[in-house]
């Protein structure tokens, strides 16, 4: 990839189960204002704003309408990406690479506590063949988990270990709300939501927002002593109908990762990437995504976890932030993956810092069973 886009700064709210005092404008203003203020920048420095939210979660059509003053887009350029936050970062980078804009303020917001998740997620399915079955995100991911485990010999204990690791990591992240020490047994015994997914293996209802400043190379160097470069970015959409896919395969992720690696000049991701922030809405997903991104052969992600490779002290830390399992809202989750990976490379991850991290991968997904996948490779600024 010739030109590069830099991430200059990030700011996150505390992610909480119910941020009852915050309306959307208040939430958005907090992160946008702070990310500028803390980095000595003003809204005038921003050529454009990209907002990221979903109308169905906000219960508002044109969900970016009420946050315009809060994100600084009054009489400025703004557009909204209505997908997982990783796609919003993708689009912000595209708009800078176009040359039309030098900089971008990106803000992602969601309050899962305000709507009814099962109903909202049921609406992602097609009204002709699927909705009537009451499918929602949880039930379909449970189907995927079962299929993946069957085809590739992953077992429930390995999935539970993902939860143990990530919730454990979450203890060191001041922004998340469900970081805690749990045992495999406790996870296995937590209430069954949709077989085989148990309560501690599913992400909790969470509210929050995340903001980021991106810029072209010239501005990024001017504004930050620790810019983080986007050196690879790719996304792919798989088929929609679950029966058109083998749910044990994540073809769109495989292709997106391959493309992102190619752009970043990576031939051996396991060796060349120092840490991964992936989207673990459900524990099985971490294992499936790691395999499809080529970090280990198919069926081996559970073993890799058991060996300790993906622990914070291991060769390839995965989700040192605690992941989505520790509490990130849907939509914002993908932006947080990029933000957390960037913080690591900036050396600003505090208690959950991975020492010496130079190259990170952030992954987000959107749509039924990870239909749409986005992979972003980040490198520490030189």
């Amino acid at each position: 990839m010739g030109e590069r886009v830099g991430i200059v700064a990030v700011y996150q709210t505390k992610y909480e189960p119910r941020k009852i005092f915050d309306s959307y404008p208040e939430l958005v203003f907090e992160v946008c204002h702070k990310v500028l203020e803390e980095n000595g920048l003003t809204i005038e420095d921003m050529d454009q704003i990209i907002t990221n939210s979903q109308d169905f979660w906000d219960g508002r059509t044109i969900s970016n309408r009420t946050v315009s003053e809060a994100c600084g887009s009054v009489l400025r350029s703004e557009s909204k990406v209505a997908m997982d936050g990783s796609f919003a970062v993708f689009y912000a980078a595209i708009r800078i690479l176009s040359g039309c804009y030098d900089s971008c303020l990106l803000v992602s917001h969601c309050k899962m506590s305000e709507g009814e998740p099962h109903l909202i997620n049921n609406a992602m399915f097609d009204p002709l063949y699927q909705r009537i079955m009451g499918l929602d995100e949880l039930s379909t991911c449970a189907l995927q988990a079962r299929r993946y485990m069957y085809k590739y010999g992953i077992n429930e204990e390995q999935c539970a270990q993902v939860a143990v690791k990530n919730l454990g990591n979450g203890q060191k992240n001041p922004y998340v709300h469900r970081g805690k020490k749990v045992s495999v047994e406790e996870v296995m015994k937590s209430s069954m939501l949709a077989d085989p997914i148990k309560e501690l293996e599913a992400y909790p209802i969470t509210d929050g927002a995340c903001a980021m400043i991106l810029a072209n190379e010239e501005k990024a160097r001017k504004w930050s002593s620790t810019p983080v470069w986007i050196t690879g970015l790719a996304s792919r959409l798989d088929a929609f109908y679950l029966g058109d896919r083998d749910l044990a395969e994540a073809l769109s992720l495989r292709l997106a990762a391959q493309k992102a690696y190619q752009m970043a000049g990576i031939t051996n991701p396991r060796k060349e990437i120092d840490l991964v922030e992936l989207s673990d809405f459900y524990s099985y997903q971490e294992l499936l995504w790691l395999e499809e991104m080529g970090f280990c052969p198919r069926g081996e992600a559970g073993k890799m976890l058991e060996k300790g490779t993906t622990q914070m002290s291991g060769e390839l830390p995965v989700n040192p932030s605690g992941g989505i399992l520790s509490g990130n809202p849907v939509t914002v989750a993908g932006a947080v993956r990029v933000a957390e990976a960037a913080l690591q490379l900036m050396g600003k991850a505090g208690a959950h810092q991975i020492a010496g991290a130079k190259r990170a991968l952030a992954q987000g997904h959107c749509g039924p069973c990870g239909q749409g996948q986005c992979v972003i490779i980040l490198e520490k600024g030189a």
């Binding site: 109308d55 508002r60 689009y91 595209i94």
Partner: protein
């Protein structure tokens, strides 16, 4: 501040369904596919040659949460990069700009953008309710018509714009629509008929308002190298500007003065080197949600001074045979499938530059203006040219 892209990008093909009030013969994905096929046919390309698909609509109107995912079979996005952008009325133009930025980034050579709406399948009332802010607008909700009407009276009061002048917009645009095979409403009206049509909210009458249509529109954006191979006369994007604004009607002057359009066109004209829009532009596709709006948008777009919109239409300058034909396609007054409407403006402007306008072709189009409107009185402005 926006500027011209680093790489040249052109629109090389478009496709639209024939817009109608209801399309019970197709489901949403099939309707999208119709526009996609027509667009590929216009380009003489196959889906394999498209690198990415960007799609959008106004989600609450049909009650489908992840249309970009559902539509994959019909939109052609399978195993490609895909995105969904939903910004209300400006969705179509936001999508078009996204197509432009994607190709300009250098990471994609050909990008298809698709805007669509099948409002007949949704519950309009529910859609309207969700559009109104729950704290500040739902208690008094009177639709878009309420805000258009309440600010149209302010516009008339301040500048002496008349209902007759507004009615001329409906007569002009719906007559222009006869030349457009895709347009929904094609009507041969008189000013009297418009004035006598059912009053919805003073001064807005039935024939002053845009319809709701089922339809889809697709466009292909291409890099310079590809554009020259695909199309004889590509429509080069020489400026793209967006402006958003404060959230509530009461924060703004609305129909009386669309300041986002004023600000966006000023910047776009600067980027495109346009000094006198009435003279330098050859055709304009303005997003006019109602008749009074078109008059006011003439002013905001710099075709005439403040308050002179009525005089401009009286002069004939914006008719097909005038100095700057506005909405030769029939405009939004003839076709309004919300997620597509703003894209149709860009597509129709591109059609004019590409010389593919058939019966609605304005002669010798070198520069065309397309605007998108929606959201909270937001504006998108795109300027196309026959040279990069």
């Amino acid at each position: 501040m926006a500027r011209r892209s680093k790489r040249n990008v052109a629109i090389v093909a478009t496709g639209q369904t024939d817009h109608r009030s209801r399309r019970p013969d197709v489901n949403i994905v099939e309707m999208i596919n119709e526009a996609v096929r027509r667009c590929l046919s216009d380009a003489q390309m196959t889906m394999e040659e498209i690198d990415a698909v960007i799609i959008g609509n106004m989600e609450h109107f049909e009650g489908i949460f992840f249309t970009e995912m559902w539509a994959v079979d019909g939109s052609g996005a399978f195993l490609k990069h895909g995105m969904k952008i939903t910004t209300g009325g400006t969705t179509g133009s936001s999508l078009a700009l996204a197509g432009y930025y994607h190709v300009a980034s250098g990471l994609f050579d050909t990008v298809m953008t698709i805007g669509w709406e099948k409002q007949s399948e949704g519950e309009t009332t529910a859609g309207l309710i969700f559009q109104a802010d729950p704290l500040w607008e739902r208690a008094t909700m009177s639709g878009a018509i309420g805000s258009f009407a309440a600010s149209a009276t302010a516009y008339m009061h301040k500048y002496g714009i008349t209902e007759e002048q507004a009615a001329k917009v409906a007569v002009k645009n719906r007559k222009n629509a006869f030349n457009n095979p895709h347009a929904h409403l094609k009507m041969d009206l008189t000013v009297e008929q418009v004035l006598n049509s059912k009053m919805l909210a003073y001064p807005i009458k039935m024939l002053d308002m845009c319809p709701t249509s089922d339809g889809a529109c697709a466009m292909i954006f291409a890099s310079e190298e590809k554009a020259k191979k695909i199309c004889q006369n590509p429509a080069w994007v020489i400026a793209g500007v967006t402006r958003h604004d404060q959230p509530f009607g009461g924060d703004l002057e609305m129909v009386m003065n669309l300041r986002t359009l004023r600000s966006a066109t000023e910047e776009a004209y600067k980027i495109a080197g346009i000094k006198d829009p009435l003279r330098d532009l050859d055709v304009a596709e303005l997003y006019e949600p109602c008749t009074f709006a078109e008059l006011s948008w003439y002013e905001a777009a710099g075709f005439c001074g403040p308050g002179e919109g009525g005089k401009l239409i009286d002069s004939g300058a914006t008719y097909l045979d005038g100095e700057l034909p506005v909405n030769p396609s029939g405009g939004v007054l003839s076709t309004n499938c919300i997620g597509a409407t703003a894209m149709i403006r860009v597509a129709e402007a591109a059609i004019q530059v590409m010389g593919k306008g058939g019966k609605r072709q304005v002669p010798n189009v070198k520069k065309a203006l397309a605007t998108g409107f929606g959201g909270s009185w937001w504006s998108d402005v795109v300027i196309l040219s026959n040279t990069p």
